[in-house]
Symmetry: C2
Subunit: 328 residues, 2 copies
């Protein structure tokens, strides 16, 4: 099929989806039952869930976190820009998908760095680096790894599984993660092959969401892989091309800016405050910002591969491939 | 998009679906819970459910049915061919979508006509007409009609709702139907916009099933509408064109014959004996035959319109439109 025929097809599907679903989303006042949640998964629209508070919501003060974690080292992403796992121009002028530098530090050190920023020091110090705890490898619980969590003292405050989601989907989460950052960090727009339950413990998270039918609006291209690297302690971070294979990633740096999107795109904007939970369906594109020192937890459940679900998600990504090549 | 590009796209989707899902189907030994059923709906593959017996399974003998129903009149489809709601050539040489003639008769009369056939009389009497109780308008229960069921004395043996399906889908069935026929009747291949729970009370039903991704293999075309009509009592049935709007219907008369299908088609064959239940997902194409005097019940639940489900079902039917025009 020609590029223009594919674009026409994708645009038609995106508009039909919008026509049928509008731009509203449901807000539940309490967590769903297993069968209600399974229905939400079938519908596959984002849903905000209130009333799913965790022990952490009241317990995880800076003092508690510092004292519970003590000298344990945790892996923190460091970038000069606040954009870990994002496309960025290297000094050679080429654009790379750049992974963050990772530094080990104590919880106390991380919180101090994040709060320093929160007090406004960032503005006056252009050499500041941005720290974001976003290891997202099942850093609390992982069903595919036996490594001990770096956050062992916090695990007693985090359910390893969300009862109604596990009953609905028929298996426990693949990974449970903790995220700690502030407004200097942004997560670039992408989609995951997971059903995601995402809850905010402290601060505010701002999601910009696109249905799978609008993936083509985000102009995925394939970028060479690089990593921020510090040659010596104290020296600045440089983008160093790696031998990892190239990464397909959205070319849209700021999807909160309507001018960076085709007019057909119809993003949902959802802000989650402490105590709010988002059901983020598999395959939905999301860009995430945050306000203040923000702590979040998320449970990733494997997406259903059987039936049509996976065929469609693959189809939408496949048809949108290379649509915008040469348009850079 | 050109016809050949559309065909290529539909073929690709059908093959990807087959690759991921194979041709197996699950058999449950007992009815699912609400959340398990909702997961099955999300996967949207046919499932056979054992152990969901109804009071009717033992109670509905010919004697019981005759005596309980008495002289009440029930609406029975009559055709010369056993193909009600199917494409058929008229005397003018044109092909019509033909609805059956409907006659009112008592249960005793219907059962006698069906058993006469079962005893082999049909073979020797070419003027025999074929009777099939298939009114399928919510003839037991209907959520959109206040008409009294023709089968009122039987209703106490039929649950108006399947507990786990109603809880999963969030609302009661749109329609509950009874079907009574024998091997002289066949239901032509079609799909319904309903999640279908179909249970066999007596006899055997043989389903030939195609996923929504193989709708294009069934070559839907638009046919003028007609009805079998008897001018005077006792005169033969004629195909009489009607003023109803044309009907889009599969051109494949016998999808159990592999030669009538493209080589890409991959039908599932499932036979249900008395006591067996089929979950037949919305949008799946089905052709139904039966062995012996067969009584079945079905519960139709509205398909989920929200999310992508309906967009995809519409897309598949839309793209397969007119693919085979002029190929007749």
């Amino acid at each position: 099929m020609s590029k223009s025929a594919r674009l026409q097809l994708l645009r038609k599907l995106a508009l039909e989806y919008q026509e049928l679903n509008g731009s509203r989303y449901d807000i539940l006042n309490e967590p769903p039952s297993a069968s209600e949640f399974m229905r939400l998964v079938h519908i596959s629209r984002p849903v905000v869930i209130k009333g799913m508070t965790q022990p952490a919501n009241t317990k995880w003060t800076n003092e508690f976190l510092t004292s519970a974690m003590g000298d344990r080292e945790i892996s923190v992403a460091v970038t000069p820009t606040g954009r870990a796992d994002a496309i960025t121009q290297g000094v050679d002028g080429k654009i790379y998908f750049v992974e963050p530098w990772v530094e080990k530090m104590s919880m106390n050190e991380l919180l101090s760095l994040l709060l320093r920023l929160e007090n406004g020091h960032y503005e006056t110090d252009s050499n500041s680096e941005i720290y974001y705890l976003q290891s997202q490898n099942g850093n609390l619980f992982s069903s595919s790894s036996n490594e001990v969590s770096e956050f062992k003292p916090l695990l007693e405050d985090v359910p390893a599984s969300i009862t109604w989601a596990t009953e609905a989907l028929g298996s426990p989460p693949e990974a449970v993660n903790i995220w700690i950052g502030n407004e200097a960090s942004v997560t670039s727009v992408h989609s995951d092959p997971y059903e995601n339950i995402y809850t905010v413990i402290r601060g505010v998270k701002h999601f910009t969401l696109f249905p799978p039918t609008e993936g083509w609006c985000l102009q995925e291209r394939t970028y060479p892989h690089a990593t921020y690297t510090r040659e010596n302690p104290g020296s600045p971070l440089n983008i160093v091309p790696s031998s990892s294979r190239p990464v397909r990633w959205s070319s849209v740096q700021d999807p909160t800016d309507p001018l960076s999107l085709p007019p057909d795109a119809s993003p949902l904007h959802i802000s989650l405050e402490a105590g709010d939970t988002l059901y983020l369906p598999a395959g939905w594109w999301h860009h995430v910002r945050q306000t203040g020192l923000t702590i979040a937890l998320n449970w990733w459940y494997d997406v259903e591969i059987r039936g049509m679900n996976w065929v469609w998600l693959n189809f939408l990504r496949g048809e949108s491939e290379d649509l915008t090549d040469g348009n850079e």
